[in-house]
Amino acid sequence: MIAYLLAQTIAITGGTVYPVSGPKVEHATVLIQNGRIAAVGTNVTIPADATRIDAAGKWVTPGFVDGGTQMGLVEIGAVPGTREAFVQNDTIAASFNVAEGINPASTLIPVTRIEGITTVLAAPQGHLVSGQAVLIDLDGATIEQMLVRSPVGIVANFDENAKGEGGGSRAGVAERIRRVFNDALEYSRRRAEYNRGAMQPLSASAADLEALLPVLRGQLPLIAVANRRSDIETALRIGREFRLKLILAGGQEAWEIADAIARAGVPVLVEPLDNIPTYDALGVRYENAAALARAGVKVALLETDTHNARNLRQQAGNAVSYGMTWDQALRAVTLSPAEVFGVADRYGALEVGKVANVVVWSGDPFEFSTTVEHVIIRGREVPLRSRQSELFERYRQLPPKY
């Protein structure tokens, strides 16, 4: 992969390996070379120059993937100067790709990765169409080094928050989304006339219409934020009309129509600990993720508090408490999001040739008692340090030494 990593050869030996794509393997070795997984199994020849990590008694999994963050796009929630996920004055912000707003030096990145989250979606917010979300690894000095895939999809909002730009009505949201999709198709058919100024004004700028075309060709997913059952159904309906590749996000009442979502083949991004009723989704409940998984829906779990994306582990544990199987939950924070975001050829499993994002845990990754012992991102072991660990070290004995 990328040469800057100066990737090590690392052999993680003796652990219980959860490849996710297959059953767990006891006393196995994961060999990492050149940023990739070179071997997984109980009969792996370890090169003499390999750095060895003794994982006897430990659990080894792929790095976790959180599809619900604004990582790199927010440093301090209340400080606008540090927020980058929202572009103003563009109701259809389809051409807004968040990537260049990402701050690779964000303090949130080490805080997150040292707890086993190695890859996240950095998503835009607001408007009817928010913009383009990108997938990033939580290591790298530059945006280019961090990017895994850009764009991953275009975010559109079908929930209560979208109404303001939908004329104050859910039906208005649907109508405006349809209008802009139709305009984008019209634009692509009549680009020459458009450029001559021979067309009626369209409902979005040429740049935004252009950006929507991969979505309308089914090449790029539309990440549809919807929570109320009827809003989810609207998103599914529009998806059928325009033959879109949909990803549902939020999906708080999705459990009510889990079978229909499964039949549509649409994956859902779910935050398991959502359960506070609002008028946007009075049916929100803890059992959502489990009900969807049981119906055969591909589920990826989220922690949407960017500062605490590390609590994806707790979200997954609670998803298990409320009905997911443990294996389903592990998949829902590794391989399933990799599939949903179109990178399963490189991410989400411990298999030969995959990018070496690997975590060694002292035990069950979802348990609070478990310690993260090693984090490897793209074949490089990252130090288990963050601004928070430095604050702790400074103040563990009082008074501090400045």
């Binding site: 929630g77 929930d159 009723p277 500062h307 544990g317 609070f368 928070q388």
Partner: protein, 479 residues
């Protein structure tokens, strides 16, 4: 996804910052500023409002049979973890806890094999009922953000007992809450100390004999809310508290004198100063939203200037930096396990905050400030405990369970009544499906004053609010 949530977060941050005071109810049904002699005046034409009961609790224990839970692991929060233990409670009181307990013939026997038992959890920082779901402007009753000092408002007068978040918190093992005003104001008002039970009125939930709290707030929230009219700076905040308490000193003197000699006209009643004067008398406990270490040190100086005691710093994200000073002054800290970064004064959060305060001899509390977090306060305590242990701070399980039981009971002045499983304590008891510090454990049964208010396996003991009927699907239903 977060899209919708970010805006909410800011509002919520104000909410948590701005929760004001908790209503301290006096041990006896008390009047206002000073204890007058209500008996003399009552019924006479000359009585005035001050002589009559002030919004008294109408709480009554729900009748229930004795309960014996046996063969469970019992975390008493009083120093013991009893394997294969039993606990008996009767008439709302814990009768016995130990390896073997004799049960009366009429006791309901609960098999606790594989289960854990703890005291009912206490959240000393909640906005349930005052920021109720479904969360529209109509339920936004937590911040009287019309004046920087609103010591006159009482959270109980905003509290909506049909908040659908209440049953969710009960199902998380919560038996007592402090419902606080928000943190928009320097002094936000009185808190409500409530038994978390299904009820028609807040009076039925008011914890008998509890002291009111007074919500105060430092830092960013008040100065941002009042930026245009002031205070607009942290020094402005300090001047605002001092001006209010200077007035309260005078008011207190005037009333104390009149209560003693009844000479001349009764002084005019001022609800704002009445609350503050009761802080000065020690009848109302200060619950102080404050993030930064340096500001907490300022607030402790303020408390010394006016001779009151701050019972707890809430949020206290930087309390680990001055854990020694806080322990010295017996100020507890009500903290999150891991929230940080949503504003500048929250940037220095560390996961070992509670553990470092414990290490320094302080009194940490894990609070929620969240309708979501309140449903898993046990998990938050677990996270905080293991964060400490991992960093080499030897937190015991008994200490960690106290973070959500005995310690918040102390912050509310209720530690002689609730917060531990000891004979004579109120029978607030939770049976957990497993170790309460595990992510996989859930409350199985919740007893509040001996009343089985929640049973995960029995829909008859899964209370639902009026709000939920016909619109929020029941657990287990398809819709």
């Amino acid at each position: 996804m977060r899209h919708a949530t970010l805006g909410v977060l800011f509002i919520a941050a104000i909410g948590c910052a701005s929760a004001g005071a908790r209503p301290a109810q006096r041990p006896a049904p008390a009047a206002g500023p000073a204890a007058p002699a209500p008996a003399q005046a009552r019924g006479s034409d000359e009585t005035s409002s001050i002589d009559r009961a002030q919004y008294p609790s109408t709480y009554q224990r729900h009748p229930n049979p004795p309960v014996l839970i046996r063969n469970a692991t019992i975390l008493t929060a009083a120093g013991q973890e009893i394997a294969n233990g039993s606990i008996l409670f009767k008439d709302g009181r814990i009768v016995a806890v130990g390896a073997t307990v004799q049960a009366p013939a009429d006791a309901v026997v609960v098999d606790g094999t594989g289960k854990f038992v703890t005291p009912g959890l206490i959240d000393d920082h909640s906005h349930l009922g005052v920021y109720a779901a479904p969360g529209t402007q109509a339920e936004s009753d937590g911040n009287e953000a019309t004046n920087p000092v609103t010591a006159e408002v009482w959270a109980e007068h905003s509290f909506w007992p049909q908040d659908p978040q209440i049953p969710l918190a009960i199902a998380g093992g919560i038996t007592t809450i402090q419902a606080l005003p928000g943190s928009a104001n320097l002094i936000g008002g009185r808190s409500a100390i409530l038994k978390l039970i299904p009820a028609r009125t807040v009076q039925e939930m008011k914890f008998p004999g509890a002291h009111y709290g007074l919500k105060m707030a430092c830092g960013e929230n008040p100065k941002n809310v009042y930026r245009s009219r002031g205070p607009s700076t942290r020094m402005g905040n300090m001047a605002g508290y001092r001006a209010a308490f200077i007035q309260a000193e005078q008011y207190r003197r005037r009333w104390d004198k009149w209560n003693k000699d009844h000479q001349g006209d009764q002084p005019a009643r001022d609800l704002r100063l009445e609350s503050l004067a009761d802080v000065l008398r020690g009848n109302i406990y200060v619950q102080n939203h404050c993030y930064r270490a340096d500001e907490m040190a300022q607030m402790m100086d303020l408390a010394r200037e006016f001779g009151f005691h701050i019972r707890s710093f809430h949020h206290a994200v930087e309390s680990y930096k001055i854990a020694d000073l806080l322990a010295r002054d017996s100020v507890s800290v009500s903290v999150w396990a891991d929230w940080w970064g949503f504003k500048e004064e929250a940037m220095d959060g560390v996961q070992q905050n509670a553990a470092l305060n414990q290490q320094a001899g302080g009194r940490p509390i894990i609070h929620s400030d969240s309708p979501s977090g309140i449903q898993r306060l046990n998990q938050e305590a677990g996270k905080a405990m293991y964060s400490g242990i991992r960093a080499g701070i030897p937190i015991t399980r008994d200490q960690a369970i106290r973070w959500v039981t005995a310690n918040p009971a102390w912050a509310l002045g209720l530690d002689s009544i609730v917060g531990t499983l000891e004979p004579g304590k109120m029978a607030d008891v939770v049976v957990w499906t497993g170790d309460p510090f595990s992510v996989y454990s859930k409350a199985l049964q919740v007893y509040n004053d001996g009343w089985l208010v929640y049973d995960r396996n029995d829909p008859k003991h899964q209370p639902r609010t009026d709000f939920e009927l016909g619109q929020v699907p029941a657990p287990g239903s398809d819709r």
